[in-house]
Amino acid sequence: MDLINVEALTFQNRTKSMWSKSKVTFDLGPVSFNVKSGETLAIVGNNSSGKSLLAKLLVGLETPKSGKIFMNGVELNKSNISVRCHDIRMIFQNSNDSLNPGLTLGSILEEPLRLNTKLNGQQRRSLIEQTLRQVGLMAEHQFFYRHMLSDGQRQRIALARALILNPKVIVADEPFAALDPSVRSQAVNLLMKLQRDLGLGFIFISHNLGIVRHISDKVIIMKDGKVVESGKTDAIFNWPKNEYTKKLVDSHQALINGQNNQR
């Protein structure tokens, strides 16, 4: 049974003009994939290949031109937007910008609970404390403000915000890009542990092929809004078929070999 199933999703970005005909500036798709629970899908591609746009389409920030998204066999559209808010959660690329500077972390985490659940104040507070511990922070952190935390802690808060509604799928737009290597590996391990414990479907976008190879089960390679190649991670890294994929994998291999030779 597929947790999330995407069928031929497309999107067109047009220039808006009153006088001339609108022109298509960006064409995405068609993109199709499915993710089972506990599975990780990585979306890889160069800049402006439509990766972030795909993430926005999945969480519902943009409306697709055509195509369907199924969640446990139920189609997601405008009528069941609350289901989407609840079941698909997004982690933004820059965790610093995605936290409100004027609110304590507790009230940032309380907002999704207040809007999407019927819990009372006491239950909300205990759930917030529980989630903060789950991501490796302390209950006292709910009284902190954004500027008091380090980058790694902010990333954990962003993760807590995604996890607090007990979602089925997490979409992450380059969640590890802004972190330094040691904090990054901490965050990756934390995510993998939580995914194993909770059985989440995890869709993430990354430049870092090392992490992709480490954690993902499936990979989609994108270029200029089109899917170039998709399949199991092992297959793609060992026997890339497409020219572009070959180039990506080769450059990654060269980087690793270079590091090994230096030692």
Partner: protein, 297 residues
């Protein structure tokens, strides 16, 4: 009493505390704040502080100089005016009128301006741009001029001048609010709130408003000094508060007739006005730089 702290606790101030810490370092601004508090106390407790009724005419004591003058007496510390009214009491009541009314007007203008500005900022298309461009063009005219135009229609009087000044102050709040909301809406944390399923009103009330407090305080101090100047200017021009009332601008106008014989009847109300405006501007300026420094950290 425990003197040393046992635990090495890091102190993490909230954004508001941080602003106060920055503000405290600016001593001139703190002096301005004390001056501001002094006027606030006078405004609230003026019936207890004033020694005489401000409109009581003592026909035997016309134009007595202030206490520091060789001819002055201690019973009238600031002297009396041409009609024998105690100047200290009149200035105290004048502070209440000018300062208190201005404070009231700024609060009213702020509530209306922020409401309309939020409406303009959160909506798109024709409604937003109509509100925006209309009020932008009104903002190009000085508030005093708008107030005079409104008074020309409504007729002179204190209540009419209050209406006029409140209406003239609204566009500034609206413009600032709209700009701020527009700026914040493009940020990622608003997107995150949208993904939580928040409606537009919820986004404004819970995500944008907590960040807007400081902008509002700075704008309110600016508006307060403008409103004090306008109220007293209209009083001076005989368009606002009328003659027997102890409004500071109207007192200046009365003093003009006897300026050469009794200069204190102009100097003292003028000085009070001067202190009021300078303290407000010092506080506003201190707040602005405190906020700027806070953002740099």
């Amino acid at each position: 009493m425990q003197q040393s702290s046992l635990y090495q606790e890091e102190h993490h101030p909230s954004p508001l505390q941080y602003t106060w810490m920055e503000f405290k370092n600016n001593h001139i601004a703190v002096a301005g704040l004390f001056c501001f508090a002094f006027f606030l106390i006078i405004t609230v407790f003026c019936p207890l502080l004033a020694p005489f009724d401000p409109n009581m005419q003592q026909t035997g004591d016309l134009m007595i100089p202030p206490a520091w003058d060789p001819n002055g007496g201690i019973s009238h510390v600031f002297g009396t005016d041409a009609l024998g009214r105690d100047l200290l009491s009149r200035i105290i009541y004048g502070c209440r009128m000018t300062f208190g009314i201005s404070l009231l007007l700024v609060i009213v203008a702020m509530l209306l301006g922020v409401g309309l500005g939020a409406l303009a900022g959160m909506s798109r298309g024709f409604r937003s741009s109509f509100l925006n461009h209309t009020l932008d063009s009104i903002q190009a005219i000085p508030t005093l001029l708008i107030a005079i135009i409104i008074i020309a229609i409504l007729g002179p009087g204190l209540v009419n001048s209050m209406w006029a000044i409140a209406l003239a102050l609204i566009p500034q709040f609206m413009h600032q609010t709209r700009d701020f909301v527009r700026h914040e809406l493009s940020k990622e944390y608003i997107m995150a709130a949208k993904l939580d399923g928040a409606s537009k009103t919820h986004i404004f009330a819970h995500s944008i408003l907590p960040n807007m407090g400081e902008m509002l305080v700075v704008q309110a101090t600016l508006a307060l000094s403008i409103s004090i100047l306008d109220i007293s200017a209209l009083g001076f021009l005989k368009l606002g508060a009328q003659a027997p009332s102890s409004e500071l601008g109207a007192m200046l106008l009365e003093g003009i007739d006897v300026a050469y014989i009794a200069p204190w009847t102009i100097a003292l109300p003028g000085g009070a006005l001067f202190m009021m405006i300078i303290s407000i501007n010092l506080v506003g300026d201190g707040l602005r730089s405190a906020l700027r420094n806070r953002l740099l950290h």
